[in-house]
Symmetry: C2
Subunit: 189 residues, 2 copies
């Protein structure tokens, strides 16, 4: 029990973390992953995604017995019935989650023990874009602000470095701040 | 009852939709919204977002009695305990939800009655970037593919046009494909 506790830093098994990094260095192709979601419209602004399988580490993952089921919606002011967070809010959740996990893993790898990580996200959007009322206003967020509160057994400047490194390596931060090619096709059989 | 049914196309109250567009045209500042999320680290790859309040339509929304609570995690192969979809998967949910809602609203505005909207999303990612093992590989997705299956009371080319218009106006599609400035700060009090 003592041994298991010592292996975990911030709840991360650092021995396994370093072994994973070594394995990828020796065999880079196992780092290629494919994540997936299936979505189905239910009615109005209500739709639902199912997330279960993914590919990676050289094969198909089969570790998930049950899928994750996530709803989306819009509040009344945006013509929905509030069946879930709206898509723009869901994007903030994905961003917060990725920055936080990156931060926790980076801290674990550096031996920094965290006691608290909280973040508040705000995104400004002018809906004239998405509603088709203006071609001068973009459809998406004009900007997103993320404010972290981080506490742990390291001085403030060390905690700040961990946040900076997390930002420099976060997958969702990269996509949201730089964009990625998205191919949309219609395949009606 | 008949009247209510007739006002709804795809579950969207088109009379309210057009009234909303008219109101924004008359008073563009009511289209400015601010969406928010608060996230808290729980342990390891497990963190949780709370989504409730937002600003828009000229004030603070108070319509939500309860917050939405969303968990994130990582599967075992990525050193987590599968406490939720991982952040990269959550991004796919946000993207699917936004494209689908845009599609449903555009169809409603055009009088196209939909019977089915399904989508499958795949994102390819080489984790050497996010894991800090390569500077030549980006941290985020290299590309995302979205495949829609759409059925309704319109010919295939009309349904295709609705998908194209949805893509041209989706807020999350815009952010994910073009990027947005994200400011990350640490504010430890």
């Amino acid at each position: 029990m003592t041994q298991v506790t010592e292996r975990l830093t911030n709840g991360v098994d650092t021995q396994r973390l370093f072994a994973t990094l070594d394995a990828i260095t020796a065999q880079p192709e196992i780092a290629k992953f494919q994540f997936r979601a299936r979505n189905r419209w239910i009615g109005g602004a209500h739709n639902r995604s199912v997330i279960k399988d993914f590919g990676g580490a050289g094969g198909e993952d089969t570790s998930r017995a049950e899928p994750f089921v996530l709803d989306a919606g819009e509040p009344a002011v945006l013509l929905g019935t509030d069946t879930g967070p709206n898509p723009a809010e869901l994007l903030l959740h994905a961003l917060a989650a990725c920055l936080t996990t990156s931060l926790v893993y980076v801290a674990a790898a550096r031996g920094v023990r965290l006691t608290e990580v909280e973040s508040a996200l705000e995104g400004d959007i002018d809906l004239r874009g998405a509603l088709g009322l203006s071609n001068e206003v973009r459809n998406g967020y004009e900007g997103i602000r993320v404010t972290f509160s981080v506490r742990g057994d390291a001085p403030p400047e060390r905690l700040r470095e961990v946040v900076e490194r997390a930002q420099a390596r976060s997958a969702v931060f990269d996509v949201v701040s730089h964009g990625v090619p998205v191919a949309v096709t219609v395949a009606n059989d």
